[in-house]
């Protein structure tokens, strides 16, 4: 019917607009970083020098800082987030469920700049006193070297972890909900303990859980404000948790409005492009994992993995 075609085209146009925005972002980022791409090529990803004066630009310190802080955040956040998801989905009494869900969402709702504010005035001094209280023998290790500034990788990792926990927890909870109840019932019927039954469910949902964790990772990669307020903004790639470092998002936020020559600007935008590509890959992969898991669950509930009870 003609009217239906009008409807289809009408709404389709808006959908196209959405696609156009995404394509536009990728296109603009590439176009505005051509100078830098042409000059540095692939070396851009490996060079450690960031020298606006000499016109030497290398994104390595920022890529390092972004990956280091996000992985650190994940290491802290993933177990806690999964623990929360398990608790809310499986273990907690019914009347606690809604309040706990509300509280985790509250954690997610706090704006990034407020996290940063709290970070500067509360977290960083705490980390600083932690640094000074460590005995010198430990301070000599590569992981803890450096003057006790407080600002640095540790503070950034901690803040990112707190920000990522509610995100990963809620997705993990959704994933756990989609595990067919028959799985757990079968486990319990065979005499499994809480741990063993839940492990079976987690194992079944493993691709989804990994997807949830990766989505949290993607979120941490792009986080700007809270990180730039506590990481120390120094372009150096260091192993030490206490060393001030830099992330891709933070350097763009700090230096973008003043990049006075074309090459500088293009180098910064190229960092934005790198960030865009990395988050694109991580997010797509994680959604693929979650989708695969959901897809598998929608098929007939396969027999649960042998309850760990038999193996114990």
């Amino acid at each position: 019917m003609k009217k239906d075609l009008g409807f289809r085209i009408g709404t389709g146009v808006f959908g196209l607009l959405l696609i156009l925005v995404v394509v536009g972002i990728g296109f603009e980022l590439t176009r505005q970083s051509l100078l830098s791409i042409q000059k540095f090529g692939l070396n851009f990803w490996r060079t450690e020098i960031w020298d606006p004066v000499a016109g030497e630009f290398g994104a390595f310190p920022f890529i390092w800082g972004t990956l280091y802080s996000s992985i650190l955040a994940l290491l802290i956040a993933a177990p806690i987030a999964i623990g929360i998801a398990v608790f809310i989905a499986e273990l907690c009494p019914a009347r606690l469920k809604q309040p706990l869900v509300f509280l985790t969402e509250l954690l997610a709702a706090i704006p990034s700049v407020v996290y940063g504010l709290w970070g500067i005035f509360v977290l960083v001094p705490t980390v600083r006193s932690l640094e000074t209280s460590l005995p010198d023998s430990i301070r000599a290790w590569a992981l803890f070297k450096g003057p006790p500034v407080g600002l640095g990788m540790l503070a950034a990792g901690l803040i990112l972890a707190i920000m990522v926990i509610p995100f990963t927890a809620s997705i993990a909870r959704e994933v756990l909900k989609s595990v067919p109840i028959a799985q757990r019932e079968a486990a319990y019927a065979l005499g499994a303990t809480r741990f063993e039954a839940i492990s079976a469910a987690l194992f079944y949902a493993r691709t989804g859980i990994v997807g949830a964790v990766m989505l949290g990772f993607g979120r941490a990669l792009g986080e700007t404000m809270a990180v730039t307020m506590v990481i120390g903004n120094t372009p150096q790639a260091r192993v030490s948790l206490f060393a001030p470092q830099y992330t891709m998002a933070a350097v763009i936020a700090n230096e973008f409005s003043e990049a006075a020559d074309e090459l500088y600007l293009h180098a910064l935008i190229e960092i934005g492009l790198v960030l865009f590509i990395i988050t694109l890959i991580v997010n797509s992969l994680s959604r693929l994992l979650i989708w695969t898991m959901g897809h598998g669950a929608r098929k007939a509930a396969a027999p649960a993995a042998e309850p760990q009870a038999a193996a114990a």
């Binding site: 003057p147 120094t234 230096e255 003043e258 006075a260």
Partner: protein, 339 residues
Amino acid sequence: MKKILLVFGCVVGLVGGLAAQTMKITGAGATFPYPIYSKWFAEYNKLHSNVEINYQSLGSGAGIQQLRAQTVFFGATDGPMTSQQLQDAPGRILHFPTVLGAVVPIFNIPNVKTELKFTGQVLADIYLGKITKWNDPALTKLNTGVTLPGSDITVVHRSEGSGTTYIWVDYLSKISPEFKSKVGVNTSVNWPTGVGGKGNESVSGLVSQTPGSIGYVELIYALQNKISYGSVQNMAGEFSSATVASVTAAAAAAAAQMPADFRVSITNAPGKGVYPISSFTWILLYEAPKDKAQAKVMMDFMKWALTDGQKFAPELGYAPLPEAVVKLEMAALAKLKLT
């Protein structure tokens, strides 16, 4: 829901319409003069209530860049634009000095409240990462009456393009050839060591919160935030503190030989009673700005700032411009193409 939106839209439109009567000018740039500029724009707004000059202290580098992109009407910088930058701009840009200020070395050492003495060489070595502890012999030699701790020095610098940085490295490069070759003179440099803060505001924030740190900021930031700052040895060998008098003395020689485009460095100026890390700070304007109405208002503001505005300088730690310089500027302002 719809009604609320309608009312909201009407209110916004109405206020927006009313606002059209106001002259709004946007400028961006240096954090070095931000305290006095914000005072000036507020005072000027009191005198001319329909003029709102919105100044954002993003750093000298941003001021230059946004002026070139023409997203702001005027820029502000303490590091004069290079010939290359001037060439790349879409129109001719003129520098107008507004005040004189000083960059002081601030520090935070628990239990040390006296004014420490520094030389240019010592500061250069600290910022090169060669002197790493507070009780280094070079420092203790200069400050014999003070017990300096053996703790590490945390170096704080600017993370973005900054005129304050320009003044600082300009001075250090004049003293230390090694600093000049390793770091160089620019608004944004490759720092060998240290932590970065955005803006004078942030450097003062970092130093005041980090024990054992050293940084460089415009004098007023140290005064307003009650941070200890040191004296620096000048060319005449005296250890000079930044004061209105010592900064004015630094400009005395330059005032007599001001170049036509007003771009001049007065760091490490010769003479007695001179503070060696002093500098002019400039407002940048296009010679032929596109918006003539805004240009007229801006010129009127500049005339006010160079005369009546100067009286606000001393209480905020800046030194007023020498008379000779003001005269030259008024002549230059008259040459702006406003029609």
